[in-house]
Symmetry: C2
Subunit: 738 residues, 2 copies
């Protein structure tokens, strides 16, 4: 065989044109299934090398595995090449176990051998500060020049369980192949997640760690994984979302394919955000906004490693659930109590059983049992296992039950034949024709191999542990399945033809006019240029009135005495006009544009509606209650734009002080349709203004019954010269050129 | 030996006088350590019997175990007696495995044999409704007559691991002896908790189930267990607290002994409360009040079975912690992020490291590591395990660290010698001289026997799993240790010598006078009986004023037009006086006691301070914000009486709208000392009034700066004829007579 083989693109359909980050993701797919692999830096003295090498045999890798050691010789019982160029056969992937200083030479060698893809274990780059950062830039530049795509550096690589490829540095955990993919920047955390999945008997398709992400990040990896039809859910451990647009594209694609992304996104505390910045170099965005953005994208956010695996593991086995809530059957009243409390605190719906289900239960349950959900079949089911079986079957067929948790100890080896005999009777109901049924052990425990084989022998497809975690996972699965069914096609607002951005902050009069022009209800008002005109305007608008200064140079008009409230007579209007104009004189060089008069409002509820530009997520809508409530409660709902009618309604109901909208102390309840429509109008306007807009705030937006009106507004335009604002950290560099 | 042995009180110091429920608890101690046991209803055909019998050998019971079967013969390979009276030797305890219908005869037999204590497995009593309830009353009455104390019926009994007594129906789980006691009404739940403790390598002293609690409840059992010096914490699963006074006594005694009670009290949801009522027959109290009451008693409340074992298990091994927070060391940045988020959401303090600790870390940590808490020693510690060891030691010696979590995988058999070699280096730091150190595996998993022996071999005393659960448990342990250090001696208010209860609702004038008499600040006011007197009084009090009707027969005076606000002139005062007196005429037969005049107040913050009688917990203090906030937020803090200064301050800071007290929109911040003192005065007054009081409400209590005053008040007296109100369900019946 010719030993001077160069790039053989037939071995793998790697990207042949320079990839942009947004297209790199899906095209990484073939990368994750290399046919032939070389370990560079294989050495008897390295535990990493021994571990990596042994993985190939353990997993049953079907391709050729080559070893490269600078000195050649026999390593791990196999003859090693002294360089990749010596292999003389096409190789798809190189696992680089060499130290940081040897990476450049190794990259040159693999490129020369026609290998286009590398997993780089070496640490000592970005994560150690300035010196490492330079080195990382160097190798990245080199890799791009050479046309090699690197995963890492400072990563453990990936395991593809389905195609039996352990491109993993060091010994991999024992795993069962399955449909849940694991993606994490940190290799240690990926390992921890995978090990927990194994303990919970959750099958895994891939384990991916991206390390310092010099070229490939978790978003790109997840984008490749969702395209694999064998992958049914993706569990992501996320320290920072570096590129919101690419993450959005990933989430949309996953939704299209009906595959959930479950994210353990850290950074809910200021301390965690600080830590993440120091060990990943990436900024962690405003956590409340991250929360809102993920929810809008249909990404399930969880708060612990156990939750991550339990939720993604459940959905990898059930797929999307039918409409409905969680049904629960147990022989223990205590377990039913715990389920009820947990479901309540986690917002998981336990549907009331249908009349027909209750009647069916009544035909076989003892008289002292209550046919409800959660269903306590009592200890009576010890002696009569059919009671449990038939109850599970009845709940599974209830029209409002999407998933059943059958709480029962697992058939462990220790529990022996007694438990198996009982579960043999239950089994037909547990294989869940139609509605999935989980055989649920109350507390989290390792599902031992002996238990797994008993479950297989009994034909029980879905067994999980930990009542708390499974109830919460069920809640997530139900939420996501409902989300999938909703229509998420939001017509983007057309860009405003009358772009008006001029890099400055607009006056109230200008801002209100802009709102009015776009059909958003504003308080009746008039801009006037004389006392006479003011009096005349007020005659039409009604007393009492407010009189406010208008000047392009004064935005915070009340700070200079430019606002007079509760003006009660025509004479007082004159006085007020003079007063605000006099106030202007105190501001050197400020131009006068007269005054704005409007009726003075009282009663109703005041809201603040603002759109601002977030560095990571772009234009963001905030809705909060005004007045004392906003000061006291810091009570604001957030969404990224675009939003639809449903989003705005959800925002209103999310406010802790939401009840004021229903009227307090005899005031008229706010008409939510009218209010929603006004807020949606503001959001659509902001969206249409697009890059021209820096922020738009209506404060207050007053609502009383059917009346909704903006009483004051402010618009700040993006500086015309400014580049579009990008995220705090740019995305990974693009992939290799042709 | 004389076969007609009767009660031999020398075998066991059982209570020899009729026990009240409050004294039964501690005296149950000897009951839990019987020297000789009989299984009544032993039978080859019963799995219960086989299981129970085998437990004695498994646990190494040192006393005599007898079997009774009506037909005699050989059972489980041992000759069975036909009745207890045939045994002819003293026996301390009978484990009754017979059916419900056979219980009365069995009780007579064991009483005749001088056995004073019985564990009753049989179901078919209270829990199956009316018919069972009668049967339970019958056997309870019989037991009392016979002088037999029963645990159950419908219970699994108890296991005393320390004295090797398995008085347990059916096969018991494999357990390690230790210092955590488990108490649960439900036997199935007790079993689940014990099994989880075993999986987590938490040593257990006792497992107790009380079933239907006809004579002995969980409170009594826990009261006995805390007296055992080998018990260091009690884990209770509580469906209902049947007798608040006895539970209080238990909590106080446990606090005295420095032993934590950790309670998983269900019923936080309405559904769970309903389920618990149906399967235990006991009412579940207002959950928010339960929450407050437990906190006041120093009882740790947890929300899951895992939390119960993790928290009680931690404290059973560490004992009370020194002052300080949680220190964390990990090789994984991801784990540090997770700890930070979890600590934040659970309110667990991660202290900032002392300057000296940071300096010490600086001497050996790589330059790119940040010496903070949680401390990420990075993957560098793989190659240099001393880095991890020395970091753990440094944090353990930090003056503000009470407990260290050293996050590291456990030395499982699978991980083999590599992990052990590394942990052998760490071990000296993990044995935590002074400050306890937990070797913490990130996700919850069973700690296998192989891991346990590796830990023992390495000399690592404390290893736990589940970062989330351990952080939360650490928070509980820190809270409880702090609570133990505080002074909880509340001087009870002396009963008021001037008892005035007369079974009716007092008018505002009377109520304000009562408050004033007891030194609680009230708004200046005067009760007047003529227009002239009203005008004269207002001259002294100031305008604007409020004028309100006074009548012992009209309490809701504004409902009849008996209140005029904002009275601005002497003439208006006359008019207002006439108006409220005229309003009285509309109420047939109502007596006039003139009117009350007071200055009209505005500004400041209004609170509602109420004391009401709860059926379960007695007098209860509620403090909430008045006005729109209380309507919108349902924002009230609760405590049972008595309270101290610290409690009231805590209540104020607990209010979600608490920030209004610090002043909003330019209003003066409330003086918290003055406010606390007024609220404490109200609470002490209510306490002094004691049983005479039904409720006392001050609404509003207005505060503005240093000014605190009650603007309106209402007192409702208990009906003089009424018995003191007792809990929804009476305590267990008293123990056996002499």
């Amino acid at each position: 065989m010719d030993r001077s083989v160069t790039a053989d693109t037939t071995t793998l359909s790697t990207p042949s044109t320079p990839s942009t980050p947004s297209t790199l993701g899906p095209s990484l797919g073939p990368f994750l299934a290399p046919r032939n692999v070389v370990i560079v830096g294989a050495s008897e003295r390295s535990a990493w090398s021994a571990g990596s090498f042994s993985n190939f045999a353990r997993l049953g890798f079907a391709g050729d595995l080559h070893l490269v050691n600078r000195r050649g010789g026999v390593v791990h019982g196999q003859a090693a090449f002294t360089a990749c160029t010596q292999i003389g056969e096409p190789v798809d992937l190189a696992l680089l176990l060499v130290g940081a200083e040897a990476v450049p030479d190794a990259l040159r060698d693999i490129a020369a051998a026609g290998i286009r893809l590398a997993v780089v274990l070496a640490a000592g780059f970005d994560e150690i500060g300035e010196a490492g950062r330079e080195l990382q830039e160097e190798i990245t530049e080199l890799a791009v020049q050479l046309g090699v795509t690197c995963v890492g550096p400072n990563c453990l690589g990936f395991i593809n369980l389905l195609d039996r490829v352990p491109a993993w540095s060091g010994r991999m955990p024992e795993l069962t192949p399955g449909a849940m993919a694991i993606v994490s920047q940190s290799g240690a955390t990926a390992h921890t997640i995978a090990a927990f999945a194994a303990q919970q008997n959750v099958g895994v398709s891939h384990v991916v760690s991206t390390g310092n992400e010099s070229m490939v990040d978790t978003t790109a990896m997840a984008a490749a994984l969702v395209e694999d039809e064998r992958v049914r859910s993706v569990a992501m451990f996320i320290e920072s979302i570096r590129d919101a647009d690419r993450f959005r594209a990933l989430a949309r694609r996953a939704a299209e394919l009906g595959k959930p992304i479950v994210a353990l996104k850290i950074g809910s505390s200021a301390l965690a955000a600080e830590i993440a910045r120091s060990h990943t170099g990436a900024l962690v965005g405003d956590d409340r906004l991250v929360d809102a953005a993920l929810r809008q994208l249909g990404v399930i956010r969880v708060r612990s490693l156990e939750q991550l695996v339990t939720t993604a593991g459940l959905l990898s086995r059930t797929g999307p659930l039918a409409p409905g809530g969680l049904g629960v059957v147990s022989m223990s009243g205590g377990a039913c109590d715990l389920v009820a409390d947990r479901a309540d605190s986690s917002g998981v719906r336990l549907p009331v059983l249908a009349e027909a289900t209750r009647a069916r239960l009544g035909t076989f349950m003892p008289g002292f049992c209550t046919p409800r959900n959660p269903l306590d079949v009592t200890g009576a089911a010890s002696a009569r296992p059919e009671l449990f079986r038939d109850s599970v079957a009845a709940l599974a067929e209830d029209p409002d039950v999407a998933l059943v948790a059958a709480i029962h100890v697992h058939p462990t080896e220790e529990r022996g034949e007694v438990m198996k005999a009982r579960l043999r009777i239950h089994a037909p109901a547990l294989s869940g024709a139609g509605t999935p049924v989980v055989l649920l052990d109350q507390t989290i425990a390792t599902i031992e191999p002996g238990t797994v084989s008993n479950l297989e022998e009994l034909g029980i497809p879905l067994a999980m542990t930990g009542l708390d975690h499974v109830v919460e996972a069920a809640g997530h699965a139900i939420w996501w399945s409902d989300w999938q069914r909703r229509d998420h096609r939001r017509t983007p607002a057309s860009p405003d033809p009358q772009r008006v951005g001029d890099g400055r902050e607009w006056s109230e009069a200008e801002s209100l006019a802009l709102l009015e022009h776009h059909g958003i209800p504003v308080v009746p008002h008039a801009q006037v240029f004389s006392e006479e005109a003011a009096v005349e305007a007020v005659a039409g608008l009604g007393l009492p009135a407010v009189v406010k200064l208008v000047s392009p140079d004064v935005v915070h008009k009340s700070d200079v005495g430019g606002v007079v409230l509760g003006v009660a007579s025509p004479e007082a209007v004159r006085l007020a006009y003079r007063q605000v104009l006099t106030a202007l004189e105190a501001v050197p060089g400020a131009r006068s544009e007269g005054a704005l008069v409007a009726p003075m409002r009282s009663g109703g509820v005041e809201l603040i509606v603002g759109v601002a530009r977030d560095a990571q997520w772009g234009l963001t809508l905030a809705v909060g209650l005004g007045g004392v409530l906003v000061h006291v409660l810091d009570d604001t709902a957030l969404r990224t734009l675009p939003v639809d009618d449903g989003d705005v309604r959800e925002m209103l109901s999310e406010l802790r002080g939401s009840a004021v909208l229903d009227g307090v102390r005899g005031s008229k309840p706010a008409d939510r349709d009218a209010l929603t429509s006004a807020i949606l109008g503001i959001a659509r306007l902001a969206e249409a203004l697009g890059d021209d807009l820096e922020s738009l705030e209506v404060n207050p937006l007053r609502v009383e019954g059917l009346t909704v009106e903006a009483l004051d507004a402010s618009v700040i335009w993006a500086s015309p010269a400014a580049e579009p604002v990008s995220g705090p950290v740019s995305g990974p560099v693009s992939g290799p050129g042709a």
